[in-house]
Symmetry: C2
């Protein structure tokens, strides 16, 4: 850290930006995401984040008043895009199984492909505080979307009746991509289909995997994907 | 913390023990488990643990050389009993579905009933260090037991073929009890059957839930349960 150039406020840095994102704000978010997921949230100071970006701590405070504000934005990034997709899917005319597959597919992909495994922060004791009540409510809203679709699938024609509480596990199975990624260092690409298909199987659904994948792909293509993808990228967040 | 009596080494404390466990070692483990899961691992010092037990920091070092040794023992407690059960089930003559149900049932119950939600520590960045290689290997061994049984179930007669990678998700679905407990503050009792049954459903198994529960219960009763249950209790750990 000692070798990092520390330019004065407002003065352009000499070196090229090393961080993802085209703005100081995006660079701060990227550096914080890396440090929170690799060193730990409590072990990371705003000073360490500023150092990793190559700015002064005072400059960082221009963008974020406190460390928990940075965490809040990062956590929110993990649910913003799937919530948008879930709301659009709720209004779509496709069968519940296709909509649930599409939501799980989209969500697994974004959890697996994000630059840092931010979902690993969900279990932080800090998240139980009032400060993160809004984030918890938004994640609960996403969980509710899953549960509603899963309940519809479970009520449909199935060869084996699913367990009574199975619809609540759909969201949980999707989030296991976070644990797999944490243990293995990477989430295998196959998960983007293994998990959505398994979510349907555990609800008693017995249709064709190939057909539902095609239908879910067409459904996702019909959504305003550009907006959704932009919503995922830190450099487009305000 | 200032009000806690701090007796000298070897001197009996005046007040009654407030902690779970009949020995100082068990009390240290219990206090550490509480602090690690409610305040965070990095935020908890060995001094804070000693204070919570009501002993001197020097006395704590008589039992544990460092904070990571305490974490290592606590993590190990989450896999010791299920590993014992898994090894016994691997040698049992029952069908794979019954053995997998029994393992998942036992494991969900112990993860749900443990005094502190220690599984929430699995995602700590600290666990990726060499220090915890042995724990990671033991947890991987447990995951292997699940995968082997799940592969057998998936290969059996099923009405809908499961997804290719579904057997790897059996272990992951069991561990979602940790996330549910973290979010809700408690793991609903119904999960001890919802999760094992859903594990089988996602593998294409279509038998009777009532029958498999009865068979798994008889199988678990036939195992040397006393030894297993003792293995779970910190006061019996060495």
């Amino acid at each position: 850290m000692a070798a990092v150039t520390q330019p004065g406020p407002g003065r352009p840095r000499l070196g090229p930006r090393r961080r993802a994102g085209g703005t100081p704000r995006a660079e701060i978010l990227d550096a914080a995401a890396e440090l929170f997921t690799t060193k730990g949230y409590a072990s990371t100071s705003t000073r360490a984040i500023a150092d990793a970006v190559g700015i002064r701590q005072a400059s960082l405070y221009h963008y974020f008043a406190a460390k928990d504000d940075i965490l809040d934005v990062l956590l929110d990034l993990t649910v913003t895009a799937p919530l948008t997709v879930a709301a659009q899917l709720a209004a779509a005319a496709a069968p519940a199984a296709v909509r649930l597959y599409a939501l799980a597919w989209y969500d697994v992909r974004q959890l697996a492909a994000s630059r840092w495994n931010l979902g690993a922060l969900y279990l932080l004791p800090e998240l139980r505080s009032e400060r993160f009540a809004q984030f918890r409510a938004r994640r609960a809203e996403l969980r509710g979307h899953y549960e509603q679709l899963a309940t519809e699938v479970a009520a449909g024609d199935s060869t084996a009746a699913p367990a009574a509480g199975a619809p609540e596990l759909a969201f949980r199975l999707v989030e296991t991509v976070i644990d797999i990624r944490s243990d293995a260092g990477i989430a295998p690409a196959a998960l983007e289909h293994t998990i959505p298909e398994t979510v349907l199987r555990m609800l008693g659904w017995s249709g064709s995997a190939t057909e539902i994948r095609t239908a879910a792909s067409a459904l996702l293509d019909a959504l305003p994907v550009d907006e959704i993808q932009l919503a995922q990228m830190p450099e487009h967040q305000q």
